[in-house]
C-alpha cells in the first residue's frame, strides 16, 4: 500500500466514486422495487442490459441524448407493463415463486439480449470525452467525473420527486401502507407499477453509463448486479439513502481494496460476496434500514 502515491489514491477514489455511482443507481432501483412490492428483483441487471442494447440500436438512427431519453421512456413503459402483467398476479405468492419468476425474467432478458444482438462485445458511445483533466496535479478522467455528475443529478431529481411532489408522496405512501393509501383514493396498483417503471429507467441510465467503459455485451450486468445487491444490503434494503451511500462507499472501498496485491482486482467479486454475507449476518438492516416486519 505504501508504494502508491497520493495521486494513485486520488485516482482510485474518483474512479471508485464513478463505478460506485453506477452501483448506487442500480441499488436504488432494487430498493425502490423492494420497498414498494416486497420483491427482490433479480432481473434488475438484465433489464438494464436489455434497455442499454435498445439504446445501442437507437443510436444508429439518432444522436446520443434523444436516444438516451427515448430509451428511458421505453424502459419505463416496458417495466410498468411487466409489473401489471407478470408481477401483479404473484404479489402475494410465497418467496420461492417470487425468486423463480424474477430469475426467470433475468434469464429471458439475458437470453433475448444475446439472441437479438449476438454474443460479441459492442462498443457503446459515451457523451463524455475520454481525455484526462488535471486537478491539483492529479489526472482524472472526464468520463468518471461525468458519470458521477449524472448519477448525482439523477439521485437529486428522484429525491425531489419523492419529497416534494404529490405523486412522490403517493408512491411513498403506497409502499409504506398500501391499505391506508387505498382509503385515501390512491390507486396503489398503478403506483407500484410506476415504481417498477422508475426502477427500470434508473437501471437503463446505469447501463448506459457503464457500457462505454466495460463494453456492451449480454453479460455486462452480471457482476454489476452483485455489487448493486451488496450496496443495497449494505445501505439497508429499505433505504434509498442507504442505497446511494452504500453504492458510493462500496465503489470506493472495492477500488482501494483491489490496490492491495494480495487481493488484486480479480477478487473484487468475492469481496462483494463477503460484504453481502457479513452485513446480512451481523446487521441485516444495513446502515440505514429500519427493523420492519416484512413478508419475507
Amino acid at each position: 500500500m505504501l508504494a502508491y502515491t497520493f495521486s494513485d489514491y486520488a485516482q482510485q477514489v474518483v474512479s471508485g466514486l464513478s463505478s460506485g455511482g453506477v452501483y448506487a443507481l442500480l441499488a436504488l432501483a432494487i430498493v425502490i422495487i423492494y420497498r414498494s412490492t416486497g420483491v427482490i428483483n433479480f432481473a434488475q441487471g438484465e433489464m438494464a442490459t436489455f434497455t442499454t442494447f435498445i439504446a445501442f440500436s437507437l443510436m444508429h438512427h439518432m444522436s446520443y441524448w434523444p436516444a438516451f431519453f427515448l430509451t428511458c421512456a421505453i424502459a419505463f413503459a416496458g417495466a410498468v407493463a411487466l409489473e401489471r402483467v407478470v408481477i401483479r398476479p404473484i404479489e402475494q405468492a410465497p418467496v420461492l415463486t417470487l425468486v423463480i419468476v424474477t430469475l426467470g425474467l433475468a434469464l429471458m432478458f439475458n437470453g433475448a439480449s444475446a439472441w437479438i444482438w449476438g454474443g460479441a462485445v459492442h462498443q457503446f458511445d459515451s457523451p463524455f470525452s475520454t481525455r484526462p483533466i488535471h486537478v491539483a496535479g492529479v489526472a482524472f478522467s472526464i468520463q468518471d467525473l461525468g458519470i458521477i455528475a449524472v448519477s448525482l443529478v439523477l439521485v437529486l431529481l428522484l429525491w425531489l420527486l419523492f419529497q416534494f411532489t404529490k405523486l412522490g408522496l403517493a408512491l411513498r405512501a403506497s409502499a409504506l401502507n398500501p391499505e391506508a393509501s387505498r382509503f385515501v383514493g390512491i390507486r396503489v396498483g398503478w403506483m407500484l407499477a410506476f415504481g417498477w417503471g422508475l426502477a427500470a429507467a434508473i437501471g437503463a441510465v446505469a447501463g448506459m453509463l457503464t457500457a462505454p467503459l466495460s463494453g456492451l455485451d449480454f453479460n455486462m450486468m452480471l457482476t454489476l448486479l452483485l455489487y448493486a445487491f451488496a450496496a443495497a444490503v449494505l445501505g439497508g434494503l429499505e433505504s434509498p439513502l442507504g442505497a446511494v451511500v452504500g453504492g458510493l462507499l462500496f465503489g470506493v472501498v472495492l477500488n482501494l481494496v483491489a490496490m492491495w496485491h494480495v487481493v488484486g482486482s480479480s477478487l473484487k467479486l468475492p469481496v462483494g460476496l463477503a460484504v453481502i454475507l457479513l452485513v446480512l449476518l451481523v446487521r441485516p438492516n444495513g446502515l440505514f434500514g429500519r427493523t420492519v416486519v416484512r413478508k419475507v
Binding site: 427482490i40 433479480f42 407478470v86 398476479p89 404473484i90 405468492a93 410465497p94 418467496v95 420461492l96 415463486t97 417470487l98 425468486v99 423463480i100 419468476v101 430469475l103 426467470g104 425474467l105 433475468a106 434469464l107 429471458m108 432478458f109 439475458n110 437470453g111 433475448a112 439480449s113 444475446a114 439472441w115 437479438i116 449476438g118 454474443g119 449480454f218 452480471l222 457482476t223 452483485l226 445487491f229 451488496a230 444490503v233 488484486g264 480479480s266 477478487l267 473484487k268 467479486l269 468475492p270 462483494g272 460476496l273 453481502i276 454475507l277 446480512l280 449476518l281 441485516p284 419475507v296
Partner: protein, 315 residues
C-alpha cells in the same frame, strides 16, 4: 404401505429402463443421458432442500463446483481413479454445505436467496484465483476418458442409489422432522425439535448431492473448468425444482431432461445464439411459477411454509 409400493414400482421401472435403454438408443444419446443424470442428481438434492425445509437456494452451482473441483484435484494432482472420487466430492461439498447452512440459518427467504446468489456468482472468481490448486482459468484436464456407456452406467447407477437414499432419509425421523418443520417451524420448536440442526442438515445433504453431481460433470467434461460453473447453472437447477414441484421424481427427471436437451437442440433447431437456451429456461421458470400459483391449492409441495393440514407422504 402404498407410498412404498409406488416407490418400489418406480424403482423397478427405473432399473428396467436403465438396462433397456443402451440397447435401444444410439451411443451418443447415452452420453446426453449421462448429462441428464448429472443434472438430475443435483436437482434432486435441491428439491429436497427447497420443498422440505423451505430454504431457497440459487447457489447450488457453487456446491457443484466444490464437488467438481474435488474430483478434479484428486484426479489431476493425486491420480485417483475418477469415479472413486465421487464419494469424496459429495463429502467435501456436504461439509461446505453444513458450513454455509449454519450461518444461513439467520437468513430468511429472500435474504437467503440473495446470499446464495452472491455465493454462486463469486465462486468461479475464487476458483480462477487459486491457480496452484485449480489450474486457474485453464482448469485441470484429464488424461483418461471412457466409453459413453460407461458414463451412462456410472451416472445412473449413482442416481439410482441416491434416489433410494433420499427415500430412506425422507422416511426416517430426519425426514419426518423436516415435514414438521415445513408445516410450522414454531410448532416444531415447541415440541423440542432443535430446528437449526435439521435445517443445516438439509443444506449439507443437498450440497452433498450437488457436489457429487459436480464430480460427475467434471468427469463427463474430461476436466474441471471454472466456466462450467456459472451462475446460470444454479438457476438451471431451479428449473428442475420448478418442474419437479408438480410431479416429484418424475417431474425432476423431466426438468433435468429439459435443461439438457434445450441446450443440445436449440443450436440445431433455431440458431447458434447462446441466448436461446437461456431464454427458454427463463420462460420455463416463469410459466412453471404461474402454473404452480394457479394450482396452488392442489400442490402442497410448492407452498412451503403454509399451513395445509396434515402433512402428506411424498413418493
Amino acid at each position: 404401505m402404498r407410498a412404498w409400493a409406488a416407490r418400489g414400482g418406480m424403482l423397478a421401472a427405473g432399473v428396467v429402463l436403465f438396462f433397456l435403454l443402451p440397447h435401444v438408443v444410439s451411443d451418443f444419446r447415452l452420453f446426453e443421458l449421462a448429462r441428464v443424470g448429472q443434472y438430475f442428481i443435483a436437482m434432486l438434492g435441491l428439491y429436497v432442500l427447497t420443498t422440505y425445509t423451505g430454504q431457497v437456494s440459487i447457489g447450488h452451482g457453487a456446491f457443484m463446483a466444490i464437488g467438481g473441483y474435488t474430483t478434479g484435484v484428486l484426479v489431476y494432482h493425486r491420480h485417483w481413479e475418477d469415479w472413486r472420487t465421487l464419494p469424496v466430492a459429495a463429502l467435501v461439498a456436504g461439509v461446505a454445505g453444513l458450513l454455509f447452512g449454519l450461518p444461513a440459518l439467520r437468513l430468511r427467504g429472500l435474504y437467503l436467496a440473495l446470499a446464495t446468489f452472491a455465493m454462486a456468482v463469486s465462486v468461479p472468481a475464487i476458483i480462477k484465483k487459486w491457480e496452484s490448486l485449480t489450474g486457474g482459468s485453464t482448469g485441470l484436464l484429464f488424461a483418461t476418458f471412457h466409453t459413453n456407456r460407461w458414463y451412462y452406467d456410472v451416472t445412473w447407477a449413482a442416481a439410482g442409489v441416491l434416489v433410494v437414499l433420499a427415500w430412506i432419509v425422507l422416511a426416517s425421523p430426519v425426514g419426518r422432522t423436516w415435514r414438521a418443520l415445513r408445516d410450522s417451524e414454531v410448532a416444531a420448536a415447541s415440541f423440542g425439535i432443535w430446528v437449526p440442526l435439521y435445517k443445516t442438515l438439509a443444506f449439507g445433504i443437498s450440497a452433498a448431492y450437488a457436489g457429487l453431481a459436480g464430480g460427475i460433470l467434471v468427469i463427463l467434461s474430461l476436466g474441471a473448468n471454472p466456466n462450467s460453473f456459472p451462475i446460470q447453472l444454479s438457476i438451471y437447477l431451479l428449473v428442475g425444482v420448478a418442474i419437479g414441484a408438480f410431479a416429484s421424481i418424475p417431474g425432476i427427471l423431466v426438468g433435468a431432461a429439459f435443461v439438457e436437451y434445450v441446450q443440445v437442440y436449440a443450436p440445431k433447431w433455431v440458431s447458434d445464439s447462446p441466448g436461446i437456451p437461456t431464454f427458454a429456461f427463463g420462460a420455463a421458470l416463469v410459466l412453471a411459477a404461474f402454473a404452480a400459483t394457479a394450482v396452488s391449492a392442489l400442490t402442497i409441495r410448492w407452498q412451503t411454509g403454509l399451513k395445509r393440514g396434515p402433512a402428506k407422504e411424498t413418493s
